[in-house]
């Protein structure tokens, strides 16, 4: 660093300090650059797009430009008349399945799992192609919504980079060869009980898979099955074992909790969307319901849960145990010890609050926190009487977490690596996962280690790092292509049914595992899953599900569950065999048509893509009927084409099995099996664990800092690396895309001299003066690169630094999921690999040594794009203040000030209300919008130029001091559909106009790309196709797109349409139904439907009773930029904070003036004794 830089940095940090001291900083800000208001930042925001994006370096003179334009204009007129549509084929079915109506979508219940936990889904199928994922409203883990990963999983299914061939030593081989080879290995190993055979899978809760392994391990008792996920529930289980002496699975009921204390748990950014839903339900303050829960968040990295917290404390990982013990001691856990130290003032009032809400409070620990924290949380919940009320303890649901073989995943992995090192493993079958990438450094599956295994097979969606080092590569089916099952957060058994035959061939995990079965090793996934449930007694008395491969009796394939549970294994095998044969005969016909048929047809589908293309002929893996338009009368679970056969086979099924058949159809139709929640456990809390300690060490105050390793909010553990929707999804707090960074607090960054200057780029084009925290050069963000040494492991790639307000001092956070080498075309070669920093003893925390490299790296963050410049855009109010003065901030109706006559909406008048108190910033809506509306991905370079195409973005506004910020608060921002839209009068070609129902519509064909509308849009929600961003060539993506939405081309403006296609569909149905009006709730926009917290409500403003009108009548409702008199259709409900006045970090929120437009004042809430004074 040169002298000039340090001077710059001093200047800038001094500026920030001044701002904090003077309290002149903006109330709410979105980036540190904005907070400091550096001159270059002002220049940046004065432009709509970054500087160098606008420069036109072509040496075309004005004259020749006009000449060219004139000619092209003339040609454009001519060509629009001359373009003849290419001839198109229409391809009907040969035999049309009776449920399929061309042009109509069907919805099928299925489920996705992450870390074993299932969330029920309804997948929309159009002409046999899955085109959109919705939540299953009946499923307890979904309640109709999903998270971002489930939304984006659609893109993964169609990903052309997926593994497509069965390979042996990189040469294509058939599945049959694999089966033959494995059978040979099993036969060779049978005398020694399969001693050399090992299986490694991801975390699974699938009852069918557990049962399959139970049978295999009974046959080959010396074989072993392990599970590994880098982000697992080891700590939770170990903590429960410490607290209760045995493994139990905790499920939380946020709906019953008035007070929540979260110890580093990011439960709002959860794949299981039930938690955020229950939490937000308790935050809906309406005219009738005036109480709201309170969240205390103690965390080591700012998360969206921390952002929503009423009180948030950033502490170091090494302080967490002491903190938790001090809270526990305060709550009456004997001998908890703990020394609150500097946090005593914070703990005392919180403990009092918790004690006042015994049985109505909830304490939850983060998955990555050490077991002792989980144990303390359980002890605290027990002390508060929460167990059985807000916390339910169940039988464990994940494999190998119950019974005699229970162990943590890391213990299992250690055992496996020990055996590999000892040369005891001859055959390793890896079922999913990517252990060569994501195992901890000391247990890393290195090439040397792998070489000790004679035969390695890998079943995987992608040909990833691990596949490249395995003899056999087996393409895996996506969950939309396979039959399977799994369990929800509360244990509810959930069925996964395919929507399409495997697009790229492939086998499910059940089919691969079945190869190792003693008999019937060529069954298909449908039979395996169905026969398991038949054996389980579905339709009669259901046998309890057990999450262990030992102990519980193996559920046979026998259709009659009564078949001698006490029989010896050998007898049972025989009965199973007979039963299975019979079952198989019954099902052979129904599934005669296997994958090959589907693939042949998909070939035709790819080339034509026309109407009624019989792509994915539902062969073999046929979806069952689940049209929402049809009644819930059950569904043919078999292949749709084989309906005749099904009825024929039904005839030979004994009457007892008929009950099963009905129950099975209902389960497939509903997507889950009712009354299968995990059995509750009644366990007594113990305190003998209190002698143990997590023993996390603190940093030394020099360049040794504490390190936190977290899953990336967008690509998780790396499994979504090749998903461009997720890569480009701005991460909730940094708004970064396409990269992972190292987070550091502003104070620590200053102390270590990180991101203090523009380094070697300072002479490049761009702003002249000043520096910032992430250097801004014409809007581009340059971050210092540092190297990191964690726990003695040097990370191989340098890490870009991001100064994150709210990060605890002396703590850096790094994210997994990047640094992939073989992810595919999207995900390879970006970011650093955080797994290099973890060891089996410390999977999430460590001590790190930071060294600056002097290099810089360009990042792409949308945080500074479309800046709001400190206007009255965000409203956050204290609950107490709001209840006392709900009418404050009233916005008068200034409509008459318009020049234009008022338009009477005789039919519908669509509008939207967004409750910012419910919104948790989880990003699910952004991906849902992208999937629904065929929004393209633009890539990192284009994001740097502010050209991202998301129609819906989530702005995050920080408040107060960057060292201890408030929030951020999240505000979803999309087209406001202004009644007096500023975009409309400036369009020279009438490409954006109002329709008769109040929508501000965008006519793509008229648009000539002047971008005047975007320029004039005060909300900055219009997106322009600067280049041909849409992939028009890849055939798979043609299948994926929503056929109801136009695919835009280059040079066209686009923006949120309020999902006009969904409105049109509902309108047409209503008009056909006797020309009635569309009822409330019939139109659900994509963002509304996915929202886990029901923050977005859409409906008819002309309908007095509609849900959206109800929200808009709330006093919290306000318009953004009301002073412009744009009369937006989308309005927002102010966020609320329910702070505890006794807390030391209680902060006075800015008060709203009585009438909007008057000066906002920062008068303390408590001193509201003389209303009407000052600016009131």
């Amino acid at each position: 660093m040169t002298g000039r830089h340090s001077e710059d940095s001093k200047k800038n940090f001094a500026l920030m300090r001044d701002r904090i001291l003077e309290q002149q900083g903006k109330n709410y800000w979105r980036s540190l650059d904005e907070f400091v208001d550096a001159p270059e930042f002002e220049e940046f925001v004065s432009r709509e797009f970054p500087q160098h994006a606008e420069t036109w370096e072509d040496p075309v003179s004005r004259r020749s430009f006009l000449k060219l334009m004139g000619a092209s204009l003339a040609l454009a007129g001519l060509s629009s008349a001359c373009v003849i549509q290419p001839p198109e084929k229409v391809v009907p079915w040969v035999r049309q399945p009776e449920e399929i109506v061309p042009g109509k979508s069907l919805f099928f219940a299925t489920a996705m799992t992450l870390g074993g936990v299932a969330v029920g889904l309804l997948a929309r199928s159009y002409d046999g192609r899955p085109v959109k994922i919705e939540g299953n409203s009946d499923h307890p883990g979904s309640l109709g919504s999903t998270d971002k990963f489930a939304q984006a999983s659609l893109l993964t299914m169609y990903d052309p980079d997926r593994a497509q061939d069965f390979l042996f030593r990189n040469a294509p081989r058939s599945w049959d060869r694999f089966v033959a080879e494995m059978r040979q290995i099993i036969d060779q190993n049978r005398p020694n009980g399969g001693a050399g055979i090992r299986f490694l899978s991801e975390t699974t809760t699938s009852p069918t898979l557990i049962n399959q392994f139970r049978q295999i391990l009974a046959d080959l008792p010396n074989a072993r099955w392990y599970q590994y996920d880098a982000h697992n529930n080891d700590n939770g289980l170990a903590g429960a074992k410490m607290a209760f002496g045995e493994n139990v699975h905790a499920a939380y009921n946020f709906a019953a909790a008035d007070i929540v204390l979260s110890l580093d748990s990011d439960f709002l950014d959860s794949f299981n969307v039930r938690y955020p839903r229950d939490f937000s339900d308790r935050r809906r303050v309406t005219l009738d319901k005036k109480d709201m829960n309170r969240l205390y968040q103690v965390e080591t990295t700012l998360t969206i849960t921390g952002a929503k917290a009423d009180h948030r404390l950033a502490i170091k990982p090494s302080q967490m145990e002491n903190f938790a013990r001090a809270v526990a001691a305060g709550l009456g856990v004997a001998n908890a010890g703990g020394n609150a130290g500097e946090h005593a003032a914070w703990i005392t009032p919180m403990v009092a609050d918790l004690r006042a809400h015994g049985g109505r409070s909830l304490i939850i620990a983060g998955d990555h926190q050490p077991p002792i924290i989980h144990a303390l949380a359980h002890a605290m919940n027990a002390a508060l009487g929460n167990i059985g009320k807000t916390v339910t303890l169940h039988e464990p649901i994940a494999a190998n977490t119950a019974g005699a073989d229970a162990r943590t995943q890391i213990e299992g992995l250690r055992e496996l690596v020990r055996d590999i090192d000892a040369g005891a493993v001859q055959t390793l079958v890896i079922l999913g996962g990517n252990p060569m990438y994501d195992t901890p450094a000391d247990l890393k599956f290195t090439p040397e280690r792998m070489d000790k295994i004679q035969m390695r097979a890998h079943l995987s969606l992608y040909r990833n790092e691990t596949s490249k080092y395995c003899h056999w590569n087996l393409p895996q089916t996506h969950y939309l292509e396979e039959w399977s099952d799994a369990r929800a957060f509360d244990g509810t058994a959930t069925l996964i049914q395919p929507l399409v035959a495997p697009l790229y061939g492939g086998k499910s995990v059940h089919e691969v595992v079945n190869v190792f079965a003693r008999e019937n090793f060529d069954r298909n996934g449908y039979d395996i899953v169905k026969e398991f449930w038949q054996g389980q007694g579905l339709g009669g008395s259901l046998r309890p599900l057990v999450a262990t491969t030992t102990g519980g009796a193996a559920t046979g394939n026998a259709p009659r569950p009564a078949a001698s549970p006490q029989a010896s294994p050998a007898t049972q095998q025989n009965t199973n065999q007979n039963g299975a044969n019979r079952g198989q005969n019954a099902n052979t016909n129904a599934n005669a048509n296997t994958n090959t048929g589907g693939n042949t047809n998909s070939g035709t589908g790819l080339t034509n893509g026309g109407q009624a293309t019989p792509l994915a002929n539902t062969s073999g893996q046929g979806p069952s009927l689940n049209a929402t338009t049809l009644s819930n009368s059950g569904s043919p679970a078999g292949q749709a084409q084989a309906n005749n056969n099904t009825s024929a086979t039904n005839a030979v099924i004994p009457p007892a099995a008929q009950g099963f058949e009905n129950a099975w159809r209902k389960a497939v139709h509903d997507g889950f099996i009712p009354n299968t929640t995990a059995a509750p456990r009644n366990v007594a809390p113990r305190t003998d664990f209190l002698g143990q300690t997590a023993g996390l060490q603190a940093g030394n105050g020099n360049n040794v800092v504490e390190v936190v390793v977290l899953p990336d909010p967008s690509v998780y553990d790396g499994r979504f690396s090749n998903n461009a929707w997720l890569q480009e999804l701005p991460k909730p707090l940094t708004k970064l895309t396409w990269d992972n960074v190292l987070l550091v607090s502003p104070r620590t960054a200053e102390r270590l001299g990180l991101n203090q200057g523009r380094g070697k780029y300072e002479n490049d084009a761009g702003a002249e003066e000043g520096t910032s925290f992430v250097s801004t050069r014409g809007g581009n963000l340059f971050a210092d690169l540092v190297t990191l040494r964690v726990n003695g492991q040097q990370m191989s790639k340098p890490l870009p630094v991001w100064v994150q307000p709210g990060q605890p001092d002396e703590v850096v956070t790094i994210f997994t999921g990047y640094g992939r080498t073989d992810a595919g075309r999207i995900g390879s070669g970006i970011g650093y690999n955080a797994y290099e920093a973890i060891t089996s003893n410390s999977m999430s925390f460590g001590l790190g040594e930071i060294t600056r490299t002097g290099e810089q790296y360009e990042l792409a963050s949308t945080q500074t794009h479309f800046n709001a410049e400190g206007r009255d855009i965000l409203r956050v109010r204290e609950l107490e203040d709001y209840l006392a003065h709900p009418e404050d901030g009233h916005q008068p109706d200034v409509y008459p000030l318009s020049m234009y006559p008022k338009y009477e909406y005789l039919g519908h008048k669509w509008g939207m209300a967004i409750d910012m108190n419910a919104c948790v910033g989880c990003n699910a809506c952004v991906v849902a919008c992208q999937a629904e509306n065929n929004i393209p991905v633009v890539g990192k370079l284009q994001v740097q130029r502010s050209r991202e195409m998301h129609w819906l973005r989530i702005d995050s506004y920080y408040g107060g001091d960057p060292n201890d910020p408030e929030g951020p608060h999240f505000q979803p921002m999309l087209c406001q559909h202004c009644e007096q839209a500023p975009c409309e009068p400036v369009c020279p070609v009438h490409a954006t106009v109002h329709d008769s129902e109040g929508l501000n519509v965008m006519v793509y064909n008229r648009c000539i790309g002047t971008r005047y509308c975007s320029n004039n849009c005060p909300y900055k929600v219009r997106r322009f196709n600067f280049l041909l961003y849409q992939d028009w060539d890849t055939p798979q993506y043609k299948l994926m797109r929503n056929p109801e939405v136009t695919v835009r081309s280059r040079g066209v403006m686009e923006k949120c349409t309020y999902c006009t296609q969904r409105i049109a569909l509902a309108r047409i149905e209503a008009q056909k139904d006797g020309g009635r009006q569309v009822r409330d709730g019939e139109v659900v926009t994509a963002c509304q439907s996915v929202c886990p917290t029901e923050a977005i409500i859409f409906g008819d403003l002309n309908d007095e009773t509609s849900a959206v009108n109800k929200l808009k009548k709330e006093q919290r409702n306000y318009q953004v930029l009301h002073e412009l008199n744009t009369q937006p259709r989308t309005t927002y409900l102010a966020a609320l904070k329910n702070q505890n006045k006794a807390m030391p970090d209680y902060r006075e929120l800015p008060r709203l003036s009585k009438e909007h437009g008057k000066e906002q004042e920062r008068a303390p809430v408590g001193t509201e004794s003389a209303p009407g004074t000052g600016s009131h």
Binding site: C82, Q85, P92, G907, T1060
Partner: protein
């Protein structure tokens, strides 16, 4: 120095200005005529189909209802093209050896769909829905012409936006009683003013400004 332009240049200049305007007009007119020509719109152009299927024979002579084959016309955006099985319902019994039907039989036997040439092809940014038009009293022949008189189906209307709008602006002139929807011989505009008012009320036709909103057909 001699004059470069002689006197007649003035007249030529004036004449050429007028001439250019006229020429421009002619060219513009030419373009509009060309844009509406069947070369562009495809009107009246026969498209060879893989099977010589005659609507005239099946509908006109045999009197088979439209909906026997186009099953989803009342429920979906697509009227639906019959699967091969629909052909075979009859042709397993009659003309079962006809060489004209070899392709149909092959399709049925090999499970390979017949690939027909699309005749009525709207641009991809137009979202036409058959079911709502049928439900609101627009008959088949209004758009498709007298199918029962067409051995090979060809397009009779331009399917251009001005043609769509001509009806969306005054739907009452084109709708017919529910019983006549599938009547090929119905003549549009044969209703009286009173009948039109009654139909408009019965069908609850939406106001023209609603029907001509961009979002009605484009998404």
């Amino acid at each position: 120095m001699a004059q470069i332009f002689n006197r007649s240049a003035n007249t030529i200049a004036k004449a050429s200005i007028v001439g250019l305007v006229i020429l421009g007009g002619v060219i513009f007119y030419g373009i509009t005529v060309f844009a509406r020509s069947s070369y562009i719109t495809g009107v009246s152009i026969d498209r060879p189909q893989p099977v010589q299927f005659s609507h005239k024979h099946h509908t006109g002579d045999d009197g088979i209802d439209c909906r026997y084959c186009h099953t989803s016309v009342e429920t979906s955006n697509s009227a639906g093209l019959p699967p091969t099985q629909t052909c075979m319902n009859c042709h397993q019994q009659i003309w079962s050896d006809s060489p004209y039907l070899a392709i149909v039989r092959d399709s049925y036997r090999d499970n390979k769909p017949i690939q027909w040439e699309r005749v009525h092809d709207l641009p991809d940014y137009v979202y036409f829905n058959h079911s709502i038009h049928v439900a609101k009293g627009v008959g088949c022949s209004t758009c498709h012409g007298q199918i029962d008189d067409m051995p090979a189906v060809h397009q009779v209307n331009t399917l251009q936006m001005e043609w769509c709008l001509s009806c969306h602006r005054q739907p009452e002139n084109f709708v017919r009683p529910k019983s006549e929807i599938y009547n090929h011989d119905w003549i549009d505009g044969s209703t009286t003013l009173e009948q039109r008012a009654q139909l408009s009320k019965d069908y609850k036709l939406r106001a023209p400004d609603m029907l001509t909103s961009c979002s009605t057909c484009h998404r």
